[in-house]
Symmetry: C2
DNA sequence: CCAAAAGTGTTTGTCCTACACCCATGT
DNA sequence: ACATGGGTGTAGGACAAACACTTTTGG
């Protein structure tokens, strides 16, 4: 292959911050490294970008390879290019964040070769490279974006109660919301639709289940509607 | 140098969308290419990232080299990684956008070797590579961000009239604003301060000049204040 | 004195906030 | 029957929108 310039090239990787939500906390998926540097330490899933795949493809491929997760919400976050961020050589990384619904299978979601696990964002181990900074950036982006884009639904099961929805916002925004006002606001926007189903196996009155109506959201958005919590 | 992996590496560049504002329009700085491909065509300023500089450094260096602009507002936008975006070989580019105050010297800001010029965003020539898509992304980011971060001031001179400020928002947001409500809102936030100076050389009543008070903005922000237009 | 833009107040409606009680269900 | 969370209404205040005239200055 001919090169366009004579200089040494930075290597290019992708790293992904995968967020999940359980009844308590916002969680992040980490991988235990099996190679130096930081051998045995925890890091974000990620890896090198191949010359024949897009950045999004690379992120999706690494996610499947390292965590088994596929078909989840994924969005590019920021590209980190500090010169010494990898002690071996110059590596620029395109960071992504992903949102996934944990449902039941929280706490430990390990896969094939490597050890993968969920950690609460509020209580993380020390991370390799500059991955803590990447995670902080992802967390901040999530906090900012969740308020004016309906991405929070990606963290919930397809059918959810209004309390689950409220809890999701409370965890991400890190403040309490008024139950009555929250319900009024959500139901006033017509994008969360009631279903006929109700919660199961709870030791009290069962809550109605709702779903996010993407079709209505898209229609309203085209008409100038702006989602906001 | 030892390489971490055997695969071919994508090349890495930065490209910068420089916005300026005059009395009429939002403008973008373009460079006329002197090499194939797209020889003679117009493109965003940019170039290869060196192995010993950060991405921000690369963007600033290219800006100085190709347009002469320095010490201006610069922010990373998005990283574009389509496989065929450069016909020669795989090139991933980290896009930035920059904001600059045109003051008097609009229209033609050419430099040393290359030909650089301002074009109104609403009437652009055909651009090389995927630069139109990059520009569109930058434009959309600017539209979104200008409403809740005080970055619009970067497009104005240090002392400006409230009409200039309003005009800046009208051009970027592409809608008219009510003069009285706009003034009330801006002056109610205490971050735009009156100066003792007034406009000069106008054939009618001269307007008072104002300045953005970053110190007050930072203080209020720390107290939970959220800028919004 | 005329043209051109600067500068200013009030009313109306909407939306956000704060707040407390009854309801349905499982044990 | 009781414990647990589900579900609802209202009043007050703050803010956004709509709207027109007077003032200042230069030519």
């Amino acid at each position: 292959m001919t090169h366009l310039y004579e200089f040494a090239r930075p290597a290019l990787t992708v790293d992904i911050v995968v967020f999940g939500l359980d009844e308590e906390d916002l969680q992040v998926m980490l991988i235990q490294r099996d190679l130096a540097p930081f051998e045995g330490g925890w890091a974000l899933p990620g890896g090198f970008v191949r010359v024949d795949e897009t950045l999004d493809d690379a992120a999706r491929r690494e996610l499947v390879e390292e965590t088994g997760l596929k078909d989840i919400y994924l969005e590019q976050l920021y590209t980190f290019g500090a010169v010494e961020r990898d002690p071996r050589e110059r590596v620029v990384t395109v960071a992504y964040y992903a949102l996934v619904n944990l449902e039941g299978h929280h706490v430990q979601a390990s896969t094939d070769a490597r050890n993968a696990a969920w950690f609460p964002v509020s209580d993380l181990p020390e991370l390799a490279f500059d991955h803590q900074a990447i995670l902080d950036a992802a967390h901040e982006r999530l906090r900012g974006k969740v308020r004016y884009q309906p991405i929070g639904f990606e963290l919930l099961p397809e059918r959810f109660t209004l309390r689950q929805l409220q809890h999701m916002y409370e965890v991400i925004l890190d403040r309490e919301l008024d139950k009555r006002n929250f319900r009024k606001k959500v139901l006033a926007m017509e994008i969360v639709k009631e279903t006929k189903e109700i919660e199961k196996d709870v030791a009290h009155r069962a809550a109605r289940l709702y779903r996010f109506d993407k079709r209505t959201y898209d229609r309203l958005t085209k008409q100038g509607f702006n989602f906001e919590i």
